[in-house]
Symmetry: C2
Subunit: 356 residues, 2 copies
């Protein structure tokens, strides 16, 4: 089972401060790693049949079966009256609810419960939970769109985040995509989601604290410092795609703006096209190398209204994680992941893979 | 879909400092929640056939197909020469390796890589990865054993942790169990595992920091402070089983020593019997209520050699998490979980469920 070329080691990264155990003996050779749960679409690609799937509310023509629309691309003169390429809609089963009274902005609305343990906080479930339908067609995946199409999805995220930023009680927006059932997706039609929360979620706090510590030691941002050629997959004028030094998941990819920028939602048209093209390529590579695996991607941005002293170490990036195995009790208990594939090996495989 | 009895809220707990969104609208009624991936054993219970499963190396009679034994219960005069109820063995595919040179104890062996980003650490993959085979029989689950049988498994964990504590380079031991494929188990035969790590894993650091903060505000330990009747499932002279205030997973259970104790491995025979009996009951309840769900349990103890000033806020406990749904991009990105079942509702259901 073992790949003898590298020996087991543990690494801690400079962004989340997480320890990861790299253990090639736990898996076959990195090139043999494939998904056992491919998400294969019966009619993949733009060449497939154009018929909407009978029961899918995200397909064109079924807009009335969805929760209310927020906006569409291209914009509609009258709502629901024009053809569309992208729709941003409310989530029908929202985890946080826009119809609840927002907490008072000054205290974040969190209160220590009267009879509870100090340190326990409760906040009303106010927030925004939206869905981005990335295409009207059931048989098209995000990376089947051309670079301009992916750009427009990214610009739709950014436009919606900017709207949510206006709300004084929203502290952070988590943009994410689930693809495939083992990555949590309950809907097969290509989509992503975002949640605007009335608190700063724990991983964001941990990440900023860790990056701050590095900044204080080094005088520079952890992500600006990454220069390793060995973990680079590809770069463009504005972005680098790498396998992070202490990747938690095999074949995990980070797409990082090369310039130091704290907020994703400030992205402009040109950079969004550049990112769209790189994201498309990375998803194609994962699909080809790993047998159309389930995956998640997440945009890691900064909380709204970050003080100017924090901006120098807050650097946004997009993380893609293929889901090739199930997390077990060790990871849940310790927060430490076991990854059978060394980042340098994954990066080399992905770098050399031709998807053109 | 909605259960109208409670409205959405977010809670942050006083142990891990994690935010959890409680969203009853995301699920059916709590009582309807069942596992879609039951781990059902073809011959469950002690009444089943006694035949070992042909290819299972954990079954009695196949000891030679396993990695080396560390000890067995009852102890063997000559190794591999006597019948056994429990075996503690080396993991054949260890994530961390006992045959590597341990890092020097004084610096934890972690070094900042020459050309890497400050904050990035690397440590050789030294450590211990053991498997505890809980029964010689393929058809017996942990909760099919009697309370004395579960006690002996717990005492075997504790005995092995005490051995690992002797090693100066081992900083923490994570004891955990994976049951069912969706909880990560690759072996069906009832077993648990432990990993002795040369670093303190991230969740342990976060937990102790969070409990310290509460202690500094309150002068008491977060777990000693839990007194809510509403989230209590059951208690015994020495332990309480509760659904935590900000449970990340539906029907998550914590079993907490009622006395303030920092280290699991100091447990004695009497307390281990008490815990064994309560653990058995809790696993029976989960099995009955949730249709034999996949689950993990993890023992959260303190790192070795904790300074005496930290002991007042370090309190060990055992966490059980049924795996009823797949985690998605929101949880991976934000560290914040969405739980459709309020702890008070889960506790009431489990409290009232009769498993006798
Ligand atoms: N007609 C309609 N109109 C509007 N919206 C509709 C709709 N029909 C369905 N939806 C919504 O569309 C979303 C589709 O999302 P996904 O398939 O990415 O995963 P889901 O949110 O179900 O859960 C996954 O992601 C979350 C967050 O990471 C995890 O908590 C969870 O365990 C995991 O399975 C759902 O949230 C659903 O509520
Ligand atoms: N003959 C033999 N002798 C000795 N040992 C043997 C053996 N045959 C198998 N083993 C070991 O027995 C263990 C059984 O463990 P589990 O079934 O609980 O999950 P596993 O560790 O495979 O992975 C799950 O748990 C880990 C840790 O949480 C996650 O990283 C992973 O994704 C998840 O699937 C394996 O670690 C295996 O190496």
């Amino acid at each position: 089972m073992a790949d003898g070329s590298r020996t087991t080691e543990a690494r801690r990264d400079a962004v989340f401060g997480r320890w990861v155990v790299f253990s090639p003996a736990r898996s076959r050779r990195p090139t043999d790693l494939k998904s056992h749960n491919p998400t294969t679409n019966p009619n993949p690609g733009l060449g497939g049949a154009d018929a909407p799937k009978p029961s899918c509310p995200f397909c064109a023509g079924r807009e009335s079966e969805c929760a209310p629309e927020i906006f569409r691309v291209p914009p509609a003169a009258a709502p629901e009256a024009s053809p569309w390429r992208i729709r941003v809609i409310e989530n029908l089963y929202p985890a946080l609810r826009r119809d609840m009274e927002p907490p008072a902005p000054q205290d974040g609305g969190a209160k220590e419960e009267e009879e509870s343990v100090p340190g326990e906080l409760v906040v009303r479930g106010f927030g925004f939970h939206d869905v981005v339908i990335e295409t009207p067609r059931h048989d098209v995946r995000l990376w089947d769109l051309d670079a301009e199409g992916v750009r427009d999805v990214l610009l739709a995220y950014a436009a919606r985040v900017r709207q949510l930023e206006e709300h004084p009680a929203v502290k952070y927006v988590q943009v994410f995509k689930n693809h495939g059932a083992s990555a949590g997706a309950s809907m097969a039609h290509s989509h992503s989601q975002m949640l605007g929360t009335p608190f700063v979620p724990p991983s964001i706090t941990t990440r900023l604290n860790c990056m701050k510590e590095v900044f204080e030691k080094l005088g520079n941002c952890s992500l600006c410092e990454i220069k390793s050629k060995e973990t680079l997959i590809s770069d463009t004028p504005n972005f680098s795609a790498i396998v992070p030094f202490a990747a938690s998941y095999p074949f995990e990819i980070w797409i990082i703006p090369r310039q130091h920028i704290s907020y994703f939602h400030e992205i402009d048209q040109d950079k969004a096209l550049d990112l769209g093209s790189l994201l498309k390529t990375m998803l194609q590579k994962l699909c080809k190398q790993l047998n159309d695996p389930p995956f998640n991607f997440m945009i890691h941005s900064a909380p709204f209204g970050l003080s100017s002293s924090c901006l120098p170490y807050a650097h946004w990036f997009l993380q893609i994680v293929p889901q090739l195995s199930v997390v077990g009790g060790f990871e849940i208990g310790s927060g430490c992941y076991i990854n059978p594939v060394f980042p340098e090996d994954a990066a080399k495989i992905l770098r050399e893979l031709d998807c053109s």
